[in-house]
Amino acid sequence: MRLRVLDTTERGSDMVPPLQQTEGGQVPRLVEDFFRHEAGRLVSTLTRLFGIEHLDLAEDVVQETLVKALRLWPLRGIPSLPAAWITQAAKNGVRDALRREACLRRKAPEVLAWMQQNEAVDTEAEALRRTEALQDDQLRMMFTCCHPALSREAQVALTLKTLCGFTVAEVASAFLTEEATIAQRLTRAKRTLRQQRVSFTVPEADALPQRLDTVLQVLYLLFNEGYNAHAGENLIRQDLCQQAIYLATLLTAHPQGDVPRAHALLALLLFQASRLAARLDAEGNLLLLSEQDRSLWDRRMITLGFRHFDRSIAGDAISPYHIEAHIAACHAAAPSYEETDWEAILHDYDDLLTLNNSPVIALNRAVALSMRHGSAAGLRELENLKALPMLDAYHLLPATLAALAAKQGDRAAAQKYYREALDRVASEPERRFLQRKLTELQEGA
């Protein structure tokens, strides 16, 4: 039995991030892909029907539905149309909720109309209309989660919880926070949405650009949170990258999100994600771009990335996402680290610095500079950055200094810098990485 899980959800094949099959190739990644996406879809639709003030109720119904699937499917087998099964089970749950919750009475006509909608779709036009309606709901949810009345942390947590089907425990784990903190953050966020009578809509024309920027920032943050944690260390965090790509894909496929900077962000995320599998060696150690086996890069994602990158050039406004995507595109297109278009990348970092004078960008620029004009030039640039207090605790500054010093043949300085970096680093794979570099130097000496 080969299940067509995501196929049953009517999305076009170029829209869907690749569905990873499990070892046996038999049961798809139900929990992480299918259930998460189904949950996001259903919570969005039910929230439109129930009203944002009953978001909790919508989440409860969906949760019960998934629990039901998790208990029934193992014994009865996986239904041939899992998505239709889930929707029907959710409808049964909604029927119970209507009976139980007096607050839903007022909404009953719309809810009943949805429940009477036949799941079997016989025309392509109808299938398309349904897909668009589902995507509209998810887009409404995306914009609602990014409402300016909410803090950035709340926006991110709510997006993960409602759209990505993360449990409170998973959101907490993704952000290395206590469950209670996340639960409180979510409760407060939902209360704010209720009290401010936030409407469950995509904002009108004049408010759209600004809210869209928030949505893009949240997706960028989601992705980075997963990417910087390093694949393999924690599967939930790798999932963050996939979820960010999924949501960005949804966004760009929608008329209101189909704007150049959204395509630029999606291109960037796809280029970065294409390297996920190559970033770790067999022992789970982190590998630098220069050390990665480029044949492991996901060509499908890169192709998709270039497709969105092409569409990002449509406008005349250049966003930071455009520039970052271009840097990532240079890497994706390069046959090797040395044969990368460092000149172009250096220009990109110059542009980025004019938009955002961040020391972290300056640090990356120094690396590009060293590749274009030699280690000595890079080192000089980095020396200037050492004075910046913002970089005091940032382990990548001494780590980069160490790498360039080693290239120059200055082993003593390189070892000193690696030790400095080790004192500052937080994540386990990065610590192992620095330790490995230090050991290599000591053994070579």
């Binding site: 038999q26 029934l72 014994l75 009865r76 087998g77 996986i78 999932d239």
Partner: protein, 112 residues
């Protein structure tokens, strides 16, 4: 041919996505094997709570379940077609519930 009822009790199932994925895979694989060998008749999970009806003198006593500790309560069953008791026992050993600390009670359906 004989029919056997497998009564599933207890078990601790971890809740991480990866663990749930594995649990489903194990059960689905076992279910597919049972079907391909022609042994599968039906299987269902049961709700945790229920009622117990008992005769009490002239009347009836009705109590809420679970009747014993939850881990003692039946939480699912398989109804299987097998050649004989030996095959039933060998088959039951493959039930994934046993991998998660659950128990399987094997009872033959009485025939004429």
């Amino acid at each position: 041919m004989s029919q056997f009822l497998l009564l599933l009790r207890g078990g601790e199932y971890p809740e991480s996505p990866e663990a749930i994925q594995q649990i489903i895979e194990k059960y689905v694989a076992w279910g597919q094997k049972l079907r391909s060998e022609g042994k599968y008749i039906s299987a269902d999970p049961l709700h945790d709570s229920g009622k117990v009806l008992r005769s009490a003198g002239t009347g009836m006593q009705i109590t809420d379940g679970p009747f014993t500790e939850t881990k003692e309560a039946v939480n699912g069953y398989y109804l299987l077609n097998v050649a004989d008791a030996d095959e039933a026992l060998e088959t039951a050993k493959g039930c994934p519930a046993l991998l998660y600390g659950g128990s399987v009670e094997l009872r033959e359906i009485m025939q004429m």
